[in-house]
């Protein structure tokens, strides 16, 4: 063995180890989800076999047909619609409130205002169960129980602080001088926000929308308590009911899970650049 061969061999070993690690990581990340997908295609008889066959001999998209067109999928389709409406509505409201709030915090910082920011963040720490009941009674009094609008309003309470936080980070990065030019031309604060700051921080706005939709799509406890019928039940509630209702058809449960996961997954992958930017917005500044 020559002296030159040792480092080369070590480098080769490092490369091999790197790829072994990469494959293991990929498998760990993918395996559970892939199994969920396979389960949604395989006939029940294959799923409950022992020893389990990992690649089912027969696969079909029948369950997806059931979910989208069949009678058993009726409640699920309503839930899909409700989830989309709640997420869209809640994110829109929170985005407007969050943009104005973030702009104020970014442009006129003061001790009192940053206190407000922390106060808003503190609401994020409140466990939903702590406000569930009074909220329930309020919603019922104003007739917003079991309604998409009511649920969306509730969601704005945790989306707004979160979006404000993200947007403030983006607004801080835009030099104020850029706005001054606009204001000299007679634009108001709101005008310069709309015409100057927003276009420049478009990535921030996209990030905020992305987070709003993902968080609203994910929420479970409020939806569980505040909705009761197909008029307002969201996907997480419908999915949790799948487990008691279709305990016998694991495949249908899996198909429902896949369909419920697709919208946020597609959004997140399509906009992954913004997702990561949003995640790091708060942390890098420390």
């Amino acid at each position: 063995m020559t002296r030159a061969a040792a480092p080369r061999r070590r480098r080769l070993l490092a490369a091999v180890l790197t790829y072994v690690g990469a494959v293991l990581l990929a498998a760990f990340l993918l395996a559970p989800f892939v199994w969920l997908f396979i389960s949604s295609l395989a006939p029940l008889a294959d799923l409950i076999q022992r020893p389990l066959q990992w690649i089912p001999p027969h696969a079909s998209f029948d369950r997806y047909r059931t979910i989208f067109f069949g009678a058993d999928g009726r409640d699920f389709r309503f839930a899909l619609r409700n989830s989309a409406e709640v997420a869209g509505l809640a994110t829109s409201i929170s985005l407007v409130a969050g943009m104005l709030g973030a702009y104020a915090l970014s442009r006129f910082p003061s001790r009192g205002r940053s206190g407000l920011l922390y106060l808003m963040l503190a609401t994020y720490m409140t466990p939903p169960v702590a406000i569930l009941l009074p909220l329930y009674l309020i919603l019922s009094r104003v007739g917003l129980l079991n309604s998409v609008l009511g649920l969306a309003l509730v969601y704005t309470s945790f989306l707004t602080p979160f979006l404000t936080w993200i947007l403030k980070g983006f607004f801080d990065a835009i030099p104020e001088e850029l706005e001054e030019a606009a204001r000299i031309d007679g634009a108001s604060r709101v005008g310069s926000l709309v015409r100057v700051v927003l276009p420049l921080s478009l990535p921030g706005v996209i990030t905020a929308v992305l987070f709003g939709v993902i968080l609203a799509w994910d929420e479970f406890l409020y939806a569980l308590i505040f909705t009761s019928s197909t008029a307002a039940k969201t996907l997480p509630v419908a999915i949790s009911e799948f487990t008691s209702r279709f305990a016998v058809d694991y495949g249908l449960m899996a198909a429902g899970g896949i369909v419920a996961a697709l919208p946020p997954l597609i959004l997140a992958f399509a906009l992954q650049r913004y997702l990561i930017a949003g995640l790091t917005a708060g942390s890098v500044k420390g």
Partner: protein
């Protein structure tokens, strides 16, 4: 004068017309059901569609939630005041709580004695508290012992067990013959289901829950029941997956041929014999849950559910029409495959028995033996303690005696009523 008369007549016609219009205005009822197999969602939808057809002007919006969510939905709707449900499906264990909290309307005055007499006697206890009727029983249900005929035959067993001890003996024979690894499966997940199985055993061993307000389930038959459960688990005769199973898991395990015996509700009989749902279709038979031979010959728990009218309902009359329709004999006999009728006469009807003769035969014995779970206002709290402590014993954290003593002490400490 004739002029005036004409005007009056016209006015009268107008008034009648107006009231007629008011009558014709649609009444919409909101009804809450659970999504489970005893009367499937489709059954309930079809029954309701027929009702609407026969009662023009009354529309019913139906909602389904899981059993686990049913209690809390009824409660939260009541807490919110008006605008909630008109008709709710409720479990046998809730009338005390619901009556106390004024959730359900007392319909004692609406029921005729002849109607009361035509119903299977035990069924009424489902909806009664303190001598008053808070609804009409609808899903008359108890747990039966299901068995796989082919497996018993293969093990050389000629007849299903008639005592709980015999069940263990037969299960051991089947296990030793290598026919199935864990012969018995139960719904012993931490939920109301485990209390149902425990109650069945408690009644079989001659136990009771309370005597003069004092807990008695931690001694005698109540203690034996838990010891029996633990023993069957320790001997490997009960499937260990039972401790995380609910009724639907039991059905799947039994229907895929992984168990020789299962304790489950009525609905499993026809589903386990349906080739589309089961790999053991045609091999399934049913008998009443056995007794212990001395205190009892058969045992059963009252697992029925009733339909009631909520106190907040603004249309109690239409709501009453709706629940009497759903519980009526013709409707129940038409949908008798997953849930058996409440009417005595139905059990002698050839049409009802057709294709499910052994279920009807078992029902005739079991329904008379239905044992109630305790009638407590704070039943959900009691049940949660009991579920937890039974689990602790089954999973080896406490001895059966200590476990039941713990629940009993909690009851005494909090003066549960």
């Amino acid at each position: 004068m004739p002029r005036i008369r004409t005007i009056l007549t016209l006015l009268a016609i107008g008034l009648v017309g107006l009231t007629g219009l008011a009558l014709a205005q649609d009444v919409t009822l909101r009804a809450l059901f659970m999504q489970q197999a005893a009367y499937s969602d489709d059954d309930v939808r079809n029954m309701t569609a027929d009702f609407e057809q026969q009662h023009p002007g009354v529309k019913v919006d139906i909602e389904f939630v899981s059993y686990e969510a049913l209690h809390n939905k009824i409660i939260t709707a009541a807490a919110a005041g008006g605008g909630g449900y008109d008709v709710v499906l409720f479990d046998v264990i809730w009338p005390a709580e619901f009556a106390q909290n004024d959730i359900l309307v007392d319909i004692t005055g609406r029921l005729s004695q002849s109607m009361i007499d035509q119903v299977v006697p035990g069924a009424w206890t489902t909806v009664m508290f303190d001598g008053h009727y808070y609804g009409i029983p609808w899903i008359l249900d108890t747990k039966y012992l299901f068995y796989n005929k082919d497996m018993l035959q293969k093990a050389g067993i000629s007849a299903p067990p008639t005592t709980w001890q015999e069940l263990l003996d037969q299960a051991k024979t089947i296990k030793d013959a290598g026919i199935v690894q864990y012969p018995i499966v139960w719904s012993w997940g931490q939920a109301e289901a485990i209390v149902c199985d425990y109650t069945t055993l408690l009644s079989a061993f001659g136990g009771s829950f309370f005597d003069a307000g004092q807990p008695t389930f931690n001694q005698g038959g109540g203690l034996e029941a838990l010891q029996y459960m633990k023993q069957s688990l320790d001997q490997g005769l009960t499937n260990p997956a039972s401790t995380e199973s609910l009724e639907e898991d039991v059905r799947r395990i039994f229907s895929s041929g992984q168990a020789a015996f299962a304790l489950n509700w009525t609905y499993m009989y026809n589903l386990a014999n349906d080739p589309a749902e089961s790999q053991v279709a045609g091999q399934v038979d049913v008998v009443p849950a056995p007794g212990d031979g001395t205190h009892s010959q058969v045992s059963a728990v009252n697992g029925s559910m009733g339909l009631g009218i909520t106190s907040g309902s603004t249309h109690p009359d239409e709501a009453y029409q709706y629940i009497t329709y759903l519980t009526s004999q013709p409707v129940q006999e038409k949908y008798a495959k997953l849930s058996l009728p409440i009417w005595k006469a139905s059990y002698d009807s050839a049409a009802v028995a057709q294709g499910q003769e052994s279920l009807i035969a078992a029902a005739k014995q079991s329904l008379g033996a239905m044992y109630p779970r305790p009638l407590l206002i704070q039943y959900p709290q009691f049940s949660t303690w009991l579920q937890t402590d039974i689990h602790r014993a089954l999973l080896g954290q406490l001895t059966p005696k200590d476990a039941l003593d713990d629940t009993a002490n909690n009851v005494i400490r909090d003066k549960l009523d």
